[in-house]
Symmetry: C2
Subunit: 293 residues, 2 copies
DNA sequence: TCGGATTACGTGCACCGTAATGATC
DNA sequence: GATCATTACGGTGCACGTAATCCGA
């Protein structure tokens, strides 16, 4: 069994070529590294280096050993990383979502589902969500489409449609639908925490001036005080996020209707199933009545 | 980066359950192991154990960490094992064969093919050959049939037919073939280094008394001095291993005709190809003339 | 003269064993 | 009185840094 520090030293020499450079990177002195290489050769019992007067190179065996060392070092790192991730996942569940609404649904369900566990949730970009899932930063993520990744498992569990709210005396208030094209060029209120909705708005409304409000309170006050159209969604409206004196008009473009996919690593599929069955009930309770109307 | 000895200690505790037993197995004292577990918890920063007054158990995180530790220890062991195997394979090629003749063909070819490399060869049982190949004990093995193993690659490169040699005045000397059935019940000379041929003889000649000669010289002298039938093969006879005053008669049973397969790990396929093309020439030179007869 | 490897020497720390204590059955 | 874990203490091996030497461009 070869000491881990010797493998680190070997790896450094393999990566930096000279004792001098490698020692510098390792924050040790040259003699220390020189001794380590001697010790390694003694441990292996076979030559690992070509030595010239003031040069040292890995020979074929040495290169091969360095490869193996890299793997062993990775495995060693993983002991700590994976164990910490495992421990965290037992005490804390972090979910990431492309938009705020799925979080509103999931958090209460998670609380029922995993009692005694600390919950956290955040809105993030889609690619950050996927890498975060694989790094165990998130246990569950919500994406606006099914990911193409065979390490994860994904189930659709919600949809959401973008609305615009306007004062009741606004000319659009009588319409029963509206399109991005209608809105483009206007000044519009949009929440900064809208996640991927913001990206959609920016791409579909290149000529609009989007007044992004990162503070939810400020957003509500502005919607109340101004006559500016403001973005909202069917789910949020049904959830009670209604500004009095305003009418909600749906946006008909297909981009304004999204299907969410609850996603986790395959190893976590059991938890996902449990979560989904519990959240079905809640979703039905929340959205059922309106769908039956 | 966690010291390897700590991982070993953790692994031992996971395997033996109590500090006492684990310490015993590790050949260290209980206090030493107790301290190691403390150190591990400090390194991880999260609890790994349930502690009662005079008991200690791995908790879920601890069990998970022990799993990871096992992998890291394996990877560490592999650094030494694989590197030594690699180094040996660069300085020494060991071939294993189920029978002596393929070795006679391969050794000279290997000498041409891998100049400066030490060569060794031995006859061994078929299952020992396969495990030896996977343990890097052998680089190449010769089997009497294609192995069913998807880690290896196998090419047929030789065949051999069993003969019996008898004094010219023996009644069988006039026959142009003979069968195991004819031979069963007789006393027969057979070389101890015949490898798998010996197994075939034993199974096909349950009633014969096989006089096994482990010394090749003794075998030749006995064949010369006695009138006992002696086993031989087409390949050996063509190679000049002829006892004067004896006639060779082929054995017609299908078991007396074998197809050899030269086999190596898939990672070594390039070497095998090189070896095969070089050995083709030699095989043709040795066997070509008789096949054309 | 600088970049690079090695040898010689002294030091501090970390891991170990011994001994003793406490707890449970 | 077994078995098992933990704490306290003293010793030692060993990995490190410093200093010095040697070699080549």
């Amino acid at each position: 069994m070869i000491d881990i520090y010797l493998l680190e030293h070997l790896d450094a020499l393999a990566r930096f070529g000279t004792l001098r450079r490698a020692a510098e990177e390792l924050h040790i002195t040259e003699p220390a590294l020189s001794r380590s290489m001697k010790k390694l050769e003694a441990a292996f019992g076979v030559p690992l280096f070509f030595r010239e007067k003031n040069r040292i190179f890995l020979n074929e065996t040495g290169k091969y050993a360095a490869e193996c060392a890299k793997k062993a070092l990775d495995a060693n790192r993983e002991v700590l990383e994976k164990t910490l991730a495992f421990d965290r996942s037992r005490h804390m569940i972090v979910i990431g979502s492309c938009a705020p609404y799925p979080i509103r649904v999931l958090l209460p369900v998670l609380q029922d589902c995993f009692a005694g566990v600390t919950l956290a949730a955040e809105v993030a970009e889609e690619d950050m969500l996927l890498t975060g899932l694989q790094d165990s930063r998130y246990q569950f993520i919500v994406l606006p489409q099914k990911p193409e990744n065979d390490q994860v498992v994904s189930m659709n569990f919600l949809d959401e449609r973008l609305y615009i709210t306007i004062p009741e005396n606004h000319p659009w208030a009588l319409r029963d639908s509206i399109s991005f094209q209608d809105l483009d060029g206007s000044r519009l209120l949009v929440s900064g925490s809208a996640g991927f909705w913001l990206k959609i708005c920016k791409s579909k409304l290149p000529n609009a001036s989007l007044l992004i409000q990162s503070d939810a309170d400020a957003m509500a006050k502005l919607a109340d005080a101004s006559s500016l159209p403001a973005f909202n969604s069917d789910r949020m409206l049904k959830g009670g996020y209604i500004v009095p004196g305003r009418t909600a008009v749906p946006i008909i473009d297909p981009e304004a209707h999204v299907q969410y996919y609850l996603t986790c690593m395959k190893s976590n599929k059991a938890k996902l199933d449990r979560l989904l069955t519990l959240s079905q009930a809640r979703i039905i309770r929340l959205s059922g009545p309106s769908e039956s109307k």
